[in-house]
């Protein structure tokens, strides 16, 4: 087990035109932590993970495991275990041999190998499958074998690259819980790549949000949800996504582009200039509130999800319809008018560059 530190890590893919996939990433991962990298497709999650694994050369910066620089070490010397999206089980070997492969290369004695493999197989509940070939396993079972192969060598660090994305929804939930339980049991430092934000929120001790090769924010799941550092994180995490409204802030007053007339509200932020107001769909209220911005809207689309209903509302505040999540029982009529209230408590303000503006003390709407 070990902590990991990235210092200005960079990755440039050489080619006809060089492509910088990871741009100066600094990050500290503590011993035993479960860290999730999330980000949109192509943001460099896999590249970063593979650099940690040693499968991809590091173009710049340093990577430390504990206080040892591992830039030039092979994956084996780094002591990592990796689970691939495609499972990558050796097709010609039985489950037992798949899991034992790394150990046999280390030339361990037969008995200890057998003992270790069987113990891991028991933990993962695949001990009855040890004689089968990967071909004869279901997706979930293959995934377990892949995980078993990674943990049987007792690596310092576990790396997962979207391990659940080939599974169906219910199995994914089940495996997610099992991986979390496994981590609680083994307490090995783990890095998990996904683009599924539910996985990120539920599994992580620490979430790292990446975009275009840069870290956008690092924090606990609730920090990321409650205090997104910029519009990218705010819009990426949370489903349905946060509503953004262009506003003008001046002297702690917020003016909305509200038809011809603009109305001002005092705000809990200290900022002047062009800004973006963000509010999550689940935080918008339908009942009149103190300290809230009232908005007149018209319902244009209704989506029933069962547990909740999503209303898409046209307003004159912004081009995009606002999304509001309400309880599943309501059945509003398309085209009808609706008054909504945006509690200032729950609003986020982002400056012209998209960075979050820090919140001040409580303010009351007069």
């Amino acid at each position: 087990m070990s902590s990991i530190e990235f210092v200005k890590l960079e990755k440039v893919y050489k080619g006809l035109s060089d492509f910088c996939a990871v741009k100066g990433v600094d990050l500290q991962i503590n011993e035993g932590e479960f860290v999730v990298f999330v980000g949109p497709s192509g943001c460099g999650k896999s590249t970063l993970l593979r650099m940690i694994a040693g499968l991809e050369d590091i173009s710049g910066g340093e990577l430390y495991f504990g206080d040892r620089c591992v830039n030039d070490l092979s994956p084996k010397e780094r002591g990592i275990g990796m689970v691939f999206q495609s499972y990558a089980l050796y097709p010609h070997m039985s489950v037992f041999d798949n899991m034992a492969f790394g150990l046999t290369l280390e030339k361990g004695s037969r008995e200890t190998i057998k003992e270790k493999v069987e113990e891991v197989a028991r933990i993962l509940q695949i001990d009855h499958l040890l004689d089968r070939k990967p071909k004869a396993l279901s997706g979930g079972q293959r995934q377990r074998v892949a995980i078993g192969r990674a943990i049987v060598r007792q690596p310092n660090v576990f790396l997962f690259d979207e391990p659940l994305s080939n599974l169906d929804a219910s199995l994914r939930v089940q495996m997610r819980i099992e991986i979390t339980k496994l981590h609680q049991r083994l307490k090995t430092t783990s890095i998990y790549v996904t683009h599924d934000q539910v996985e990120a929120m539920t599994m992580a001790d620490k979430i790292v949000v990446l975009n275009q090769g840069r870290i956008m924010q690092v924090g606990s799941p609730l920090q990321i949800y409650n205090e997104p550092a910029n519009t990218f994180v705010a819009g990426f995490m949370g489903s349905p996504t946060m509503n953004f409204i262009d506003v003008e802030a001046k002297d702690d007053q917020l003016s909305l582009r509200n038809g011809q007339a603009s109305r001002s509200f005092p705000m809990p932020f200290h900022y002047s200039g062009q800004a973006t107001l963000g509010i999550r769909p689940e935080h918008i209220e339908l009942q009149p509130q103190a300290d809230a911005i009232p908005v007149e809207t018209r319902i244009c689309v209704v989506e029933h999800l069962g547990n909740e209903t999503l209303l898409y509302l046209t307003t004159d505040l912004c081009e995009q319809p606002l999304v509001v999540a309400v309880s599943g029982e309501t059945s509003p009529e398309i085209g009808s008018a609706l008054s909504i209230y945006l509690p200032l408590e729950r609003c986020h303000l982002f400056d012209a560059r998209g960075d979050a503006v820090r919140r001040q003390g409580k303010v009351t709407v007069s």
Partner: protein, 275 residues
């Protein structure tokens, strides 16, 4: 009406299959029948069963030695070209280096030269290496000719192996050599058998190099030995012994294919990496 139509369809199909069968099997049929006749010339219908030709093949020349030579040369060629082809195709398929595509195209280009074109150059090479009238000269030249093809096929197959599989092995601590022998070769087993078999057949049947580089009867391979079988007089072809010899040397090939055919099927069904 419909039933009749289907019936005619079936009959026509059966006829077509029969025609194809006769077309492909006929030469072999003639060879076998001729080899079993006592007299001269070739025959369409078996008249008697006489193994005299088979005995004479072995009595009149060191045919057993010739078979041994052929086997030695063919297995040697297969072993060496597979070893080189597997390692070369690993590099061509998996290692990024400058000029990779050019190299691959050159490999293919080389295989397009007719044998005659390289004959004199090869002869110089063989003399230089002191391999003249030595089976080594044949292994060398057959390897040269089977390599491009083997490399090309294996490279294509190796590209088809998911990269994850190789990386999983790297993470497990395997060296490139271990990756090739423990992961790639078992996965590529069907392709290896196919290319190996083709290299074997090529070497087993090769004539031109064999007659050019080998002088003595004891070093000859089978195709040359067969061509040297002479009849009662200068003007007649000893078809009986020739056919008997041909049948004798074809049997090992057929056995080889039959043995490996099962392996090929096994290899194909063992696969399935994902999904």
């Amino acid at each position: 009406m419909k039933a009749l139509k289907r019936r005619t369809g079936q009959v026509l199909f059966a006829l077509a299959v029969l025609a194809l069968l006769i077309y492909t099997i006929f030469p072999f049929y003639i060879a076998i029948v001729t080899s079993l006749q006592g007299g001269e010339g070739s025959f369409y219908l078996p008249q008697d069963f006489d193994f005299g030709n088979y005995v004479s093949v072995f009595r009149e020349q060191p045919f057993f030695l010739n078979i041994l030579n052929s086997a030695l040369v063919s297995f040697g060629t297969v072993a060496i070209s597979l070893l080189i082809a597997v390692t070369a195709s690993y590099a061509l398929a998996r290692v990024h280096f400058r000029g990779r595509t050019t190299l691959l195209l050159t490999v293919l280009g080389v295989s397009m030269f007719p044998q005659v074109a390289v004959l004199s150059g090869m002869f110089e090479l063989v003399r230089l290496l002191g391999l003249y009238n030595n089976l080594g000269s044949l292994v060398l030249s057959y390897t040269v000719f089977s390599l491009p093809f083997s490399v090309w096929i294996l490279t294509t197959f190796m590209r088809g192996i998911p990269k994850d599989l190789e990386e999983a092995a790297i993470v497990d601590g395997a060296t490139p050599w271990q990756i090739i022998t423990r992961i790639f070769m078992p996965v590529l087993w069907p392709a290896l058998v196919t290319t190996g078999l083709l290299a074997f057949i090529g070497a087993w049947n090769e004539f031109m190099f064999a007659i050019t580089f080998i002088l003595s009867n004891e070093q000859r391979t089978v195709p040359v030995a067969i061509s040297m079988i002479s009849g009662g007089s200068q003007y007649e072809m000893p078809w009986g012994p020739i056919m008997a010899a041909s049948v004798i040397v074809t049997v090992p090939l057929i056995l080889l294919v039959l043995v490996f055919q099962r392996k090929i099927v096994e290899g194909l069904t063992a696969g399935a990496v994902k999904g």
